[in-house]
């Protein structure tokens, strides 16, 4: 059950503070509640997931790599199922899984080098793990593995024993758990070392999350030129950082699109902080009170979206209404720039649900006090849109501007082949 203090003013910060004081299970549960209520959403999900997995690695009981992988997977899929519309959770889980595998393999490599028995080890293991293999030579196995890997790049730098690992994973019925990999034979003595290695790795990942926006922003002055008119569609924190950074170098005009009117109760104008910062640099800002942007597109030079997630095919999950804005931009041949850190890059194609888009609470727009006619109305308030890859001109990640064909190699650099196939929503706890 969610702890009391997280319940009153739920926020990511509160939750992180509460991590120390409560059990692992309790903090996972309370995060699940936060996710389900959308009280933690968007980029925060990534940080929250990383924190959770760090706790899992540090505090749960595990004796070998397989157990660790299992623990991370089960915690990860619980979170992912709590917020199926937040693909970044899955990304972080996959990143951590990959990290664990890498650390474990490194440990093993060291062991192997020291023990200098790698060749016999492989020969001994291969027939056991791949009984359907006719020959007992290790050579054919890596070839097959590489063909299986969609990108082919992931395997290029791995050592001999890594090939062995892949082949084992590839041939077993459940490649997800890695239960039959040689890793299971890691020495319990190295568990302690592995734990600290993985924790360090996750902390590095958390640093990456926190620095991503700044890194993306550092590419802003290349994209934004003096006297540009830039349309920022419901700027996220990432986009805000990007614009502010550009403002320190350039004079331009920002049109901010608000797709939703200010709520009657709200007194301040939307994006007041962002606009104040931009104005202080001499950048003009205009809040557009519309989500029909076709009228303004001829005036603007480029359109910037903050991605919620970027899929393998180059499609982007964005705020609702962005699709039509991107379509309009394309009609007028204005570049569409998507800002998305590498951790938002999903090693999967968008599901049908993604394309159909998420529905939000309609009562903000239509009150049931409006009468029986409204009662009989079917109302859809879409809160997310999917941008097909054809509408995006450039993706700016924390590693720099990328074009769509290059996304595959970034994916290959950041995820392990085993984890790409891992479906968070289907696996059992």
């Amino acid at each position: 059950m969610a702890p009391v203090h997280a319940a009153y003013a739920p926020s990511l910060d509160k939750w992180i503070k509460s991590l120390r004081s409560q059990s692992l299970e309790a903090s996972i549960e309370s995060l699940i509640y936060l996710l389900k209520r959308r009280q933690v959403k968007g980029d925060e999900c990534a940080t929250a997931t990383a924190h959770t997995l760090l706790q899992v690695v540090a505090r749960s009981k595990w004796h070998d790599v397989d157990q660790l992988l299992n623990r991370v997977q089960s915690a990860g899929s619980r979170l992912a199922r709590a917020a199926p519309n937040e693909p970044v959770i899955g990304n972080i889980v996959r990143r951590v899984l990959g990290l664990i595998r890498e650390e474990a393999t490194e440990d093993r490599n060291i062991d192997d080098d020291v023990g200098s028995e790698s060749a016999s080890d492989i020969q001994a293991l291969t027939p056991v793990n791949a009984p359907n293999q006719q020959g007992n030579r290790p050579a054919p196995t890596p070839v097959q593995t590489l063909q299986r890997a969609p990108t082919g790049l992931a395997g290029l730098q791995v050592s001999k024993s890594m090939f062995n690992l892949f082949s084992a994973a590839g041939n077993s019925d459940t490649p997800l758990t890695g239960a039959s990999t040689p890793l299971s034979q890691a020495q319990p003595a190295s568990v302690h070392a592995l734990r600290s290695e993985v924790i360090e790795g996750i902390q590095e990942l958390m640093d990456e999350l926190s620095q991503a926006d700044d890194q993306i922003a550092s590419f802003s002055d290349i994209q934004i030129h003096p006297d540009d008119y830039v349309l920022a569609y419901q700027p996220s924190k990432t986009v805000e950082r990007f614009l502010i950074k550009a403002a320190s170098r350039r004079r331009f005009t920002v049109l901010i699109a608000n797709s939703e009117p200010i709520q009657p109760g709200a007194t301040e104008t939307p994006y007041a902080v962002l606009r104040k910062k931009l104005n202080s640099h001499g950048v003009t800002t205009i809040n557009l009170a519309t989500n029909a942007l076709m009228a303004y597109i001829p005036r603007v030079n480029k359109v910037i979206f903050g991605a919620k997630a970027v899929y393998q095919n180059g499609g982007v999950l964005v705020d609702s209404g962005a699709y039509i804005a991107a379509e309009a931009a394309q009609e007028f041949l204005k570049p569409v720039i998507v800002l998305g850190a590498v951790y938002k890059l999903c090693p999967e194609d968008p599901s049908d649900e993604t394309v159909i888009s998420e529905l939000g609470n309609p009562s903000r727009f239509v009150s049931y006090a409006n009468g029986p006619e409204i009662d009989a109305l079917e109302i859809e308030n879409t809160v997310s849109d999917y941008l097909p890859p054809s509408l995006v001109d450039v993706y700016i990640t924390n590693l720099g501007p990328q074009s769509r064909p290059h996304l595959a190699s970034i994916l290959a650099d950041h995820y392990k082949v085993e984890d790409i196939g891992y479906s968070l929503h289907e696996s059992e706890v």
């Binding site: 003009t284 009170a289 029909a292 209404g321 039509i324 239509v366 409204i374 009989a376 809160v383």
Partner: protein
């Protein structure tokens, strides 16, 4: 009025930053003084009267300002200097040219420049060319403005009368009252006097309240042509009767009949089981859908609304009352999926330009484009009185209006947008009976031939 302000301000640079309010008063006063001794044509008389009024009003304003700040001393200084210099020559031409941004080329019928400037100062630079409706206190209106017109002007400025056809109808009815109460002065003829001396001030006032819509422009042009064609020798009563009847016919044929025909034609386009997608609320779309339901067709409607102007919700209610299944979307989110399931996109228009592009409520262009991309049929409903055969528009910033509620950088909004004809499958008007498959261009050509014998 910028020209005038600049002209008057030039010689008195010494009185640096002479407050703006001083200018309107100085120039007209000088102008009035200058024209006094010469022979006075009616036009000059009128100009003089206007200038005097302007001066009076400016005086009132100055007094008001004096209460507020310690400005008046400065202002008097400016008056003394500026009054001499250029006022006489510069004032009038400057005024008559005016600086109305687009829709009318006329000078404002009241000298509220400084106030207008204050309001318009909030408009972001890149949209500063776009006109905006404004509320003019009735006390500041020109004295020649007829009470009926005054009311219509207020209603238009406050958007109580909003869409182009309602505005057209209200204007014509008000002008009808003006003509009804008109009596040609001694020594003048109706066809020469009515337009410049009576009608124009009304029209200027209306334009001041809110830029004229294209339907109003068309109708007023036709009305003026009609008045000019009145024979000088006709008895006045008969001529007036003629004009009143003409206005009645215009309303009957171009509005009421047009609505009926368009709704009927467009309703024929709806088939059983269709899903019709529409945007916001347009009078013709609403009439069409209700008409189709009346004729016994079963279909469903998807309403995509503008979250800043919830007309669609009103439409949704009215359709639900008629028992039409409605899917309501409060914004443009997920539009690509909604148009994909729609068989027909029905949109209403405010005006259609000579190049076939459509001027309609902001957001229409997005929906039309999405509809076209999804290969749905995009049908526009528009009365022919809204067709502008002289102007072309290629983007939404050419002919548009700023929402007077949202005109600052804090919140900015254009009322209309421009849909290029490539997104439009067909236009339904009251003229063609083909069934909404003809492009706007075809109708424009047809209109060119038909309009004059038909109405003027």
């Amino acid at each position: 009025m910028t020209t005038e302000t600049n002209g008057a301000a030039a010689p008195k640079d010494a009185a640096k930053n002479a407050p703006a309010p001083a200018n309107p008063s100085t120039a007209p006063v000088a102008a009035a003084a200058g024209t006094n001794p010469e022979k006075l044509t009616p036009a000059q008389l009128k100009a003089k009267a206007k200038a005097e009024k302007a001066a009076r009003r400016a005086q009132v304003k100055e007094n008001r300002a004096a209460v507020v700040a310690a400005e008046p001393a400065k202002k008097e200084g400016a008056d003394g200097k500026g009054g001499k210099g250029k006022g006489k020559q510069d004032g009038q031409p400057g005024q008559s040219k005016g600086h109305r941004p687009s829709m009318s080329g006329r000078r404002p019928s009241f000298p509220g420049t400084e106030k207008e400037k204050d309001v318009r100062r909030g408009i972001p630079q890149c949209f500063s060319h776009v006109p905006m409706a404004k509320r003019i206190p009735t006390s500041e209106a020109h004295k020649d403005v007829h009470p009926a017109v005054l009311v219509v002007g207020q209603q238009m400025a406050t958007f109580a009368i909003k869409d182009s056809i309602s505005r057209l109808e209200a204007t014509m009815l008000a002008l009808r009252k003006v003509i009804e109460s008109y009596e040609t002065p001694e020594g003048n003829s109706l066809s020469r006097h009515l337009v410049p001396h009576v009608l124009n001030p009304q029209i200027e006032y209306l334009t001041e309240c809110r830029p004229m819509c294209f339907a109003m422009g068309n109708a007023i042009r036709l009305l003026k042509a009609k008045i000019n064609s009145v024979d000088i020798n006709d008895p006045e009563d008969e001529a007036k009767e003629d004009l009143l009847e003409w206005i009645d016919t215009l309303i009957k044929e171009r509005i009421n009949l047009a609505h009926f025909v368009i709704a009927r034609t467009a309703a024929d386009l709806i088939n059983k089981g269709d899903n019709i997608l529409t945007y916001g609320r347009h009078r013709l779309v609403e009439k069409t859908l209700l008409k189709a339901k009346e004729t016994g067709k079963e279909f469903s409607v998807t309403i995509v609304d503008d979250p800043y102007d919830r007309g669609g919700l009103v439409l949704a209610k009215s359709l639900r009352r008629a028992d039409i299944p409605v899917l309501y979307s409060p914004n443009l989110g997920g539009l690509q999926l909604k148009v994909a399931t729609a068989t027909n996109v029905l949109l209403g228009g405010e005006a259609i330009f000579a190049n076939g592009s459509l001027n309609a409520a902001s957001g229409t262009a997005d929906v039309a484009m999405a509809g076209r991309k999804a290969s749905a049929k995009v049908t526009i409903l528009c009365e022919t009185i809204n067709f502008d055969r002289e102007r072309v528009s290629v983007d939404s910033l050419t002919y548009n209006e700023i929402d007077p509620e949202r005109y600052t950088a804090d919140s900015f909004r254009l009322l209309f947008d421009n849909t290029q004809d490539k997104y439009i499958t067909g236009v339904v008007t009251e003229f063609e009976s083909g069934g909404g498959n003809s492009p706007a261009q075809a109708i424009l050509a047809l209109l060119r031939r038909q309009e004059d014998p038909l109405i003027a």
